[in-house]
């Protein structure tokens, strides 16, 4: 004969009333799943910003006045945007105290029918001699080999791989490297040496469907590295004070821009999730109170058969733990599947950078949320469990009849 334990009793109750178990499980699953998804998205954005900022390498970014928002959008999501300013600004900035290094960039948008890829992509012309964004990567991945004028480096989400040739505006380029994934705009960016970029611009009138109208003395942005002993904000103010037609934003402001974009969505998500937890707590508490009343006779008989008060308490708590634990697991698994499938859609719709956090962190968050779902069950069933354990066997059997 099968031994009757608290676990088998709880399992039998789950099987006997599957609808009740499903309702409780769903409440917890929805709340746990939503919280898991919101937390992973938030951590994913933070992780992406950390990796992206490290890759960017610059402390300050100087862009033409009035173009700060599209510039930030370009760095965060890789949304192509083109704007230009005269390159003599670079000399002024380089001469300022606190500025350690500067490097200019030119932004161009690919045509929507470029040979590599459908849709517009971001072409960034950079100076290999002064650049500190791509060059550290080059040093480790290309064994310090010099970059030719038509050698390009592409972001992870560009459908090009090493040794492939691609034509932009009629000029052929050779892919020599693919940057590691950052989740930021860098992944959708194609880096072209300035010499090759200027040649492409000059030849576009003859070779391309559309002529590029960027003058040789025009640039789009200046990346600034601040000296170790200088204050970043002081240097930013100094640059703005010396320039009339340029605006400076710090790498930290990129985080702030993402924060502003996320604030509304995540605020609502966390608010709704907390409301769902409270609702789950109340629902589970109510369901268990009703269940305990309904099962007075059964619990009374168990007590009459010799079950201790503690055993009745553990039985009710165990059932709640089983329901909420299974609900939590289902919620975590569902959220993980949905997040894995739709993370790119979320990223594109919300215009946020996103890079999956490391696995230790994901396991840690899952474990904490599972504990939280078990605690919800324990908290909600505490009162019914206490009251059922206090019942006298005889009275319980009579009342339950």
């Amino acid at each position: 004969m099968k031994e009757i334990t608290l676990y088998t009793l709880a399992l039998q109750n789950l099987r006997r009333k599957p609808y009740r178990a499903v309702v409780i499980g769903l409440c917890v699953a929805v709340a746990t799943g939503s919280l898991f998804a919101a937390t992973i998205v938030l951590r994913g954005v933070q992780h992406s910003l950390t990796v992206g900022r490290a890759r960017l390498g610059a402390d300050l970014i100087v862009v033409p006045i009035g173009h700060e928002v599209p510039a930030q959008e370009a760095f965060i999501t890789g949304q192509p945007s083109t704007f230009y300013m005269p390159d003599d600004i670079k000399e002024i900035i380089t001469a300022l105290p606190g500025v350690q290094q500067t490097s200019t960039q030119v932004f161009i948008e690919t045509l929507s029918n470029a040979s590599c890829c459908i849709g517009e992509f971001f072409l960034v012309g950079f100076e290999p001699e002064t650049d500190f964004t791509i060059s550290p990567w080059l040093a480790t991945h290309l064994d310090g080999e010099a970059l030719g004028p038509f050698d390009i480096i592409v972001g992870d989400r560009i459908l090009l791989r090493e040794d492939e040739t691609v034509i932009f505006y009629g000029t052929a380029f050779n892919v020599v490297g693919v940057l590691e994934k950052t989740g930021m705009g860098i992944d959708r960016t194609i880096y072209v040496p300035m010499e090759g970029m200027r040649t492409m611009i000059a030849d576009s009138s003859e070779l391309a469907e559309k002529t590029l109208t960027v003058a040789p003395e025009e640039i789009s942005s200046i990346l600034v590295s601040v000296a170790p002993n200088a204050d970043i904000l002081d240097v930013a103010e100094r640059i703005e004070a010396n320039l009339d037609n340029a605006k400076v934003f710090t790498a930290a402001q990129l985080n702030q821009a993402v924060g502003n974009q996320l604030q509304g969505v995540l605020g609502v998500t966390f608010g709704v999730t907390i409301a769902m937890w409270l609702m789950s707590l109340l629902t589970i508490g109510l369901v268990f109170s009703l269940t305990v009343n309904e099962r007075q006779r059964e619990l009374g008989i168990l007590r009459a058969m010799g079950a201790q008060r503690q055993a009745i308490f553990r039985l009710v708590m165990g059932e709640a733990g089983l329901f909420t634990g299974l609900g939590g697991l289902v919620g975590l698994a569902s959220a993980a599947i949905l997040l894995a499938g739709f993370s790119r859609l979320i990223q594109l719709r919300l215009h946020i950078p996103y890079l999956l956090p490391n696995w230790f962190e994901i396991v840690g968050i899952s474990f904490l949320l599972l504990v939280l779902s078990l605690l919800t069950g324990a908290l909600a069933s505490l009162h019914p469990a206490l009251s059922s354990s206090k019942m006298e066997p005889y009275a319980a059997i009579r009342q339950g009849e």
Partner: protein, 140 residues
């Protein structure tokens, strides 16, 4: 009135969701121009069409399960549901793959939704196709 099978209704609803997925999360809308100048839809267009047909088949089989009485017949239909679920998953991945660029709308929305729904159909089919339980002997 005869009671409908809940699991059959669930399968039919999943089929319906597969049909509406390319409408709610559309595939790429652009046209490709061939060398001869002819414009053709992108390949994900055909993925969506095929999936809508599979969805319709799943709805029909689901409704048949819902109305059938004999467990043996239902079990056979569940085998078909599992097979349709598998085909729904494999179509956007291998049979009629969506576009190459991972950032295109067919890849960010339609494909994951179809794979997840196909997975649910497959699970429903596998659960339903298990041998029906023999009722326990009752002591009179």
């Amino acid at each position: 009135m005869k009671r409908l099978s809940t699991s059959g209704i669930v399968v039919a609803v999943l089929g319906l969701l597969i049909i509406i997925t390319p409408i709610v999360l559309p595939v790429c809308e652009g046209l490709l121009e061939l060398v001869n100048g002819k414009q053709v839809p992108m390949r994900c267009h055909w993925t969506a069409r095929a999936e809508m047909i599979f969805g319709a088949l799943i709805v029909v089989v689901g409704l048949m399960i819902a109305f059938l009485k004999k467990p043996g017949e239902r079990q056979r239909l569940y085998h078909q549901v599992a097979l349709l679920g598998l085909v729904t998953i494999l179509t956007p991945l291998f049979i009629l793959p969506t576009c190459m660029n991972p950032d295109m709308s067919c890849n960010v929305g339609t494909k994951p939704a179809l794979v997840i729904l196909g997975g649910l159909v497959l699970i429903a089919g596998l659960l339903g196709s298990r041998a029906p339980k023999t009722p326990p002997e009752t002591i009179e």
